[in-house]
C-alpha cells in the first residue's frame, strides 16, 4: 500500500508535482500514466525518499520511507535512470545492495536466475545492453522479496519477448498480493498490463480508476468483436445503448461499451467470442484526451489534427 497525500515538489521555478494525492493498493497492477515530463519519475523518487517533497507526504505500508526498518525487504524499485557503476559486475552490484539489508548471498543467485542474467553475472554492467540493464534493475528490485514494488518504465529497451516477460512478472507479483506500481507513457502497454491506473499530467492527478472505466470514458472507445453469433450479440449490445458497425465475417465494431462489459454481455447471452479487442488507436486517444491540457511540450496546434471525439 502506497499513500500519497498532497505531494508537492518544485525544482527551482518548475512545479514537478502539484498537490498530488493517490493510493496504490495491493493485489493489482497499478499503472502510473502520464506524458513525458508529467512528474512520474519525480513521484517515484519522492516515494523512495530520494527527493524531499516541498509539502505533503507519502507513506509505504503506513510509514515514510525513511522509517522503514529494512527498506529493501519492504520496497523494491526499478528506477528509470540506470543506477549501476559501469565497472562493477552485476553480481557484485547486487551483493553490495543485499548486504545493506542483511539479505543472504543465496538470494543474489536467485534473483539473477529469475531475470535470466546468471550467465553474465560476472560481466561488468557497463557492457550490458539496455535490456540487460533493465533486467538487472528488476533483479535489484526483487532482492528483498518485497511486498511493494515500483517499476519506472520497465519495458524500455526490451525486446518483445522481454516485454511479455515483464508483463507476466508484474501480473504474477500482483496476484501474490503485492502492491505493484508501474509507470509508463504508453497507454497501450498499460491497457494489457494494469488493472488500475493513476493518470497524471503536469504533476497533477487527472484520473484514478480501473482501466476499463478509463477506456469507457473515452468518447470514441472502439472495441472490435468477432463472433459466430453476430446478429444475436448485435441485438444484445444495441439494447445496452452501444453503437455498432457490422462488417462481414461476423466482425462488429462497437463503441459505447468497454471490452469487459461486452464480454460479460456475450457470456450472459450465451454467445461465443472469437475476438474481443479494444482498439489501440482509441486507447491512445483516451489517454491523449485526458492529458491534452497537460502535455509539457505541445506540437503546434495547427500541426496536428485534433483528437477524434474530443469534446471541444
Amino acid at each position: 500500500m502506497i499513500e500519497a497525500r498532497d505531494l508537492t515538489k518544485r525544482y527551482g521555478e518548475a512545479l514537478a508535482v502539484d498537490h498530488l494525492s493517490f493510493e496504490v493498493r495491493p493485489g493489482r497492477v497499478t499503472g502510473f500514466l502520464g506524458p513525458n515530463g508529467a512528474g512520474k519519475s519525480t513521484t517515484m523518487r519522492l516515494i523512495l525518499g530520494l527527493d524531499r517533497p516541498d509539502s505533503g507526504r507519502v507513506t509505504v505500508n503506513g510509514r515514510t520511507y525513511h522509517d522503514l526498518p529494512w527498506p529493501l525487504r519492504e520496497v523494491g524499485a526499478l528506477l528509470e535512470a540506470r543506477s549501476v557503476h559501469p565497472g562493477r559486475s552485476a553480481y557484485m552490484h547486487l551483493l553490495s545492495l543485499a548486504q545493506t539489508n542483511d539479505i543472504p548471498r543465496s538470494r543474489v543467485d536467485e534473483v539473477l536466475e529469475l531475470v535470466g542474467l546468471t550467465s553474465v553475472a560476472r560481466r561488468r554492467a557497463g557492457t550490458f545492453s539496455l535490456g540487460m540493464g533493465q533486467r538487472l534493475g528488476i533483479a535489484a528490485a526483487m532482492l528483498g522479496d518485497p511486498a511493494v514494488l515500483l517499476f519506472d518504465e520497465p519495458v524500455n529497451g526490451l525486446d518483445p519477448e522481454g516485454i511479455r516477460w515483464v508483463r507476466m512478472l508484474l501480473k504474477s507479483l500482483a496476484a501474490e498480493g503485492r502492491t505493484v506500481l508501474v509507470s509508463s507513457h504508453l497507454m497501450s502497454e498499460m491497457a494489457v498490463t494494469a488493472d488500475h491506473v493513476v493518470v497524471i499530467g503536469k504533476g497533477r492527478l487527472i484520473a484514478e480508476q480501473p482501466v476499463g472505466e478509463l477506456l469507457a470514458r473515452s468518447s470514441g472507445g472502439l472495441v472490435r468483436v468477432r463472433t459466430p453469433g453476430a446478429e444475436q450479440l448485435q441485438a444484445v449490445l444495441a439494447r445496452e445503448g452501444a453503437r455498432i458497425e457490422a462488417g462481414g465475417d461476423g466482425t462488429l465494431e462497437v463503441t459505447g461499451l468497454s471490452a469487459s462489459e461486452i464480454g460479460e454481455l456475450a457470456l450472459s447471452a450465451g454467445v461465443a467470442l472469437h475476438e474481443l479487442s479494444p482498439q489501440a488507436g482509441t486507447l491512445e486517444e483516451a489517454f491523449m484526451e485526458l492529458t491534452k491540457d497537460s502535455v509539457e511540450f505541445r506540437v503546434d496546434r495547427d500541426g496536428r489534427a485534433p483528437v477524434a471525439g474530443a469534446p471541444r
Binding site: 527527493d51 528506477l79 540506470r82 557503476h85 552490484h93 553490495s96 529469475l114
Partner: protein, 286 residues
C-alpha cells in the same frame, strides 16, 4: 536468455510474512561499502599508482642520492635527512590517494549508484560514515605499509655510501608512521570534498588546487603573510611530518607547526569537509 522462471518470483512469498526484527545498520553497510570498494578496477589501479608514487619515487630518490653522494659538495650534504629522502614520494602519494578518495565517493554520483544506495539505506549520514570508515581503514593500512616499505627500501639503497637512518633514531619512527597517517587523512579529505562537490573532475580539481596551487598563490604575497599562512597548508604540514629535522624544509622559517599540531589541523580540515558533505547529502535530492 532463459526466462522460463518468470512468474515465480519467490517460492513462499506471503504479504503477511514477518519482517526480521531490528533494522538495517552499520554492520551490513560496512560490508556493502567494502564490497563496492573492492569490486571496481579503478580502486586497484589507483592503489598501484599510489605504490609507485610512494615506494617508487622514494627508491629512485635514495638511489640517485647514493650514486652522487661522493661527488656532491658540502651544500648537498648539509642538512641531509635520509628519512625525508626515502619519503620523497609522499608528495605524489597524496595526489594518488586523493584520486582514490574522490573516486570512492564521486563514482556513486556519476554512475547513479547513489540512488540504489540511498534507497537501500535512507540514513545518509550513516552511509557516509560507513563509507568513510571502510575507505579510511583501507587507506590507513595501505599508507602505513607503503611509508614503512619506502623507508626500509630507501635506507637499504643509501647504506654503504651515504648516511642512513634507523627507526630507533629520534624522530624517525614519527616521521615514517606520521607520513602514513598524513596520506590516510588526505585521502579522507578528498572523499569529503567529493561528497560536497559530487563530480569527479570538480572534486579532483579542488583537491589538487588546495594541495598544490594555493601554496603557490600564497608565495606571491608578502613574506610576513606567507609565514602566517603557509604553515596551515596541507603540503607544508605533510613535508614537515616526514622530516626528522624540524623547523627546516623548503618552506623554511621557525613558523612551522609542530608535526602533531599540523596533523591535528589536517584532521580538522578533513572533519570539516566530511561534516559539510554529510549536511549537503541530507539536504540535497539524490
Amino acid at each position: 536468455m532463459s526466462t522460463v522462471s518468470a512468474g515465480l518470483p519467490s517460492k513462499d512469498f506471503s504479504v503477511d510474512r514477518p519482517v526480521p526484527p531490528g533494522r538495517y545498520g552499520p554492520a551490513g553497510l560496512l560490508r556493502a561499502e567494502w564490497t563496492k570498494l573492492r569490486s571496481v578496477r579503478s580502486t586497484v589501479w589507483t592503489l598501484v599508482v599510489t605504490v609507485l608514487a610512494v615506494v617508487g619515487i622514494g627508491a629512485v630518490a635514495t638511489a640517485v642520492t647514493a650514486a652522487h653522494w661522493n661527488g656532491g659538495g658540502p651544500a648537498e650534504r648539509f642538512g641531509f635527512d635520509p628519512t625525508q629522502r626515502s619519503l620523497a614520494g609522499l608528495f605524489l602519494g597524496q595526489i594518488a590517494i586523493g584520486v582514490l578518495g574522490v573516486l570512492a565517493m564521486s563514482a556513486e554520483f556519476s554512475s547513479g549508484t547513489i540512488r540504489a544506495t540511498f534507497a537501500a539505506a535512507p540514513h545518509r549520514t550513516l552511509v557516509l560514515v560507513c563509507k568513510t570508515v571502510v575507505f579510511g581503514l583501507v587507506a590507513l593500512v595501505t599508507s602505513e605499509v607503503l611509508t614503512f616499505a619506502a623507508f626500509e627500501l630507501g635506507q637499504q639503497l643509501l647504506k654503504g655510501t651515504t648516511p642512513y637512518a634507523t627507526l630507533g633514531q629520534p624522530g624517525v619512527l614519527r616521521a615514517v608512521a606520521g607520513a602514513g597517517l598524513v596520506l590516510t587523512v588526505m585521502g579522507l579529505f578528498a572523499l569529503g570534498l567529493a561528497a560536497i562537490i559530487r563530480h569527479t573532475a570538480g572534486a579532483l580539481a579542488t583537491y589538487v588546487g588546495l594541495l598544490l596551487v594555493l601554496p603557490l598563490i600564497i608565495q606571491a604575497f608578502p613574506t610576513s603573510f606567507q609565514q602566517a599562512v603557509l604553515r596551515y597548508m596541507p603540503l607544508v604540514i605533510a613535508e614537515h611530518m616526514a622530516t626528522t629535522r624540524l623547523g627546516g624544509g623548503a618552506f623554511g622559517g621557525g613558523s612551522l607547526l609542530s608535526p602533531w599540531v599540523g596533523f591535528a589541523v589536517l584532521c580538522g580540515y578533513t572533519l570539516a569537509a566530511l561534516v559539510v558533505g554529510a549536511v549537503l547529502l541530507n539536504r540535497r535530492d539524490a
